[in-house]
């Protein structure tokens, strides 16, 4: 048993040094082709953001926000703070709203108000909205 322990010691040293060497010599990034996925994701994220901001920039939406007691500029800033994935879900929700017709005004209003109140931490309808921590 003692002999085994003595024999195993150099092996452990070699392994430890090897592992260390590996971690030291791994370069932080590899020279490589940048994949298409990275490019298309970035493009998608940019478009999602501008779609949400376009909505918030609409005059009727701004009026509704003000009427609800929210500052449109502050709301836009909050949307900027959402992650790409969260903005994407938001934009996808906008797609699923029925387009055109009289229902749009009502829906848009409810949707925007819910979004804002969610962001402000008053409601919890959209799971992707970051909630402020309440203490």
């Amino acid at each position: 048993m003692d002999k085994l322990r003595r024999l195993s010691k150099p092996v452990i040293h070699v392994v430890a040094v090897g592992v260390l060497a590996l971690s030291v010599h791994l370069p932080p990034a590899h020279a490589a082709i940048v994949g298409t996925e990275a490019v298309v994701s970035a493009q998608q994220a940019m478009q999602d953001r501008s779609r949400v901001q376009d909505l918030l920039n609409r005059q009727d939406v701004k009026e509704q926000l003000l009427r609800a007691g929210a500052d449109p500029r502050q709301v836009a800033a909050r949307v900027d703070a959402l992650s790409d994935e969260e903005v994407h879900q938001l934009a996808a929700k906008m797609d699923s709203l029925p387009a055109g017709g009289d229902a749009l005004g009502v829906l848009l209003f409810v949707f925007v108000v819910l979004l804002i109140t969610d962001i402000l931490g008053l409601t919890d309808v959209f799971p992707f909205v970051k909630k402020p921590v309440r203490r």
Binding site: A29, T36, Q43, P98, A99, G100, L114
Partner: protein, 320 residues
């Protein structure tokens, strides 16, 4: 607990309002003018596979795939997409399975107009329907192969019926209960009529993950015919050719990308890598330097590319 409820109540009421408004929202078909899509359309080349019980998913996909030139029987697809536990197929399974058969699955915008536009353009559309109620769903996949708005009819390959005729509004109600889900499966050489640049390219990128480089290369070329200025399509074409070890073709694609988008570091980085693989060090170094100067989120990769090119070249110059 009470506090949480109190805080949520207004949101809940508003959500209820939203749902009610959703139910009461007018049908898209009410606003559809028949003159927008004149004349009866019917895609007679789409085959018909009568479905076995619950197997409408595999059957619908098989019909669309056959139209796209990929002959496959529903029985072959069934074990791949049918989930016995759910007695049906999920949309994601259909999408993933379509990819495995080398076509580009493209999910349409939830609009009746887009569905009709695809059928008019000759592309059969797989739709998901809820034939019963929201609270007692009966999910069903069918393929829309034609319509005649004058007669208020859609033609579906559905269940055991090769030509299931259904009034437009009835169809829309069943389709709406499935959130207007619709998909086309396209050969890489053919674009959906209603395709938009980014979603289409995302559908192609998903095929990259399966390493179907011949197909992605063809699809990017197709995309460039409609969106010649698309950076993603141009880079995707280069990346597909690079993966196929077609260095000349890749270089050409990256050069076009770099010319049209001189602010894209990725175009220059990938060009540098391709030139380095051809041992054209001087040009490679210039391109890598350009990428590094442009910077951006991938700057670490650009730096590594440049360092590697200089090292492989013989290390005459130290890294800046």
């Amino acid at each position: 607990m009470f506090r949480t409820w109190a805080a949520r109540a207004p949101g809940g009421l508003l959500l209820l309002h939203l749902l009610l408004a959703g139910c009461a929202a007018p049908l898209q078909s009410e606003r559809l003018s028949p003159s927008a899509f004149p004349g009866p359309v019917e895609l007679t080349t789409v085959p018909f596979f009568p479905q076995e019980e619950y197997q409408c998913g595999p059957a619908a996909l098989a019909m669309a795939l056959d139209w796209a030139g990929k002959s496959v029987l529903p029985d072959t697809l069934a074990p791949e997409v049918y989930l016995p536990g759910r007695q049906g197929s999920l949309q994601l399974e259909l999408i993933a399975n379509a990819r495995r058969h080398d076509v580009i699955p493209y999910v349409l915008k939830p609009r009746l107009h887009d569905l009709l536009a695809e059928v008019s353009a000759g592309n059969p559309v797989i739709v998901l329907q809820n034939l019963a109620f929201a609270w007692y769903p009966k999910w069903h996949y069918a393929v829309v192969v034609g319509f005649d708005l004058e007669r208020d009819q859609l033609v579906l390959r559905s269940g055991l019926e090769a030509r299931h005729l259904v009034p437009v509004q009835v169809f829309e109600r069943t389709w709406r209960r499935a959130n207007y889900w619709a998909m086309v499966v396209m050969p890489p050489e053919r674009l959906p009529r209603t395709a938009e640049e980014t979603p289409y390219l995302q559908a192609v990128v998903a095929l990259e993950r399966l390493q179907r480089w011949e197909e992605t290369s063809a699809a990017y070329r197709t995309a460039l015919t409609r969106w010649p200025d698309s950076l993603v399509a141009q880079l995707g074409l280069g990346n597909s050719r690079y993966a196929l070890k077609d260095l000349t073709g890749a270089e050409q694609a990256y050069r076009t990308a770099a010319n049209r988008h001189p602010d894209s570091g990725i175009a220059f980085n990938n060009l540098a890598q391709t030139l380095a693989d051809q041992r054209r060090w001087r040009e490679a170094e210039a391109a890598a330097e350009r990428a590094l100067a442009l910077g951006g989120p991938h700057i670490d990769t650009y730096r590594a590319t440049l360092a590697e090119i200089r090292a492989r070249r013989g290390g005459t110059k130290p890294e800046s």
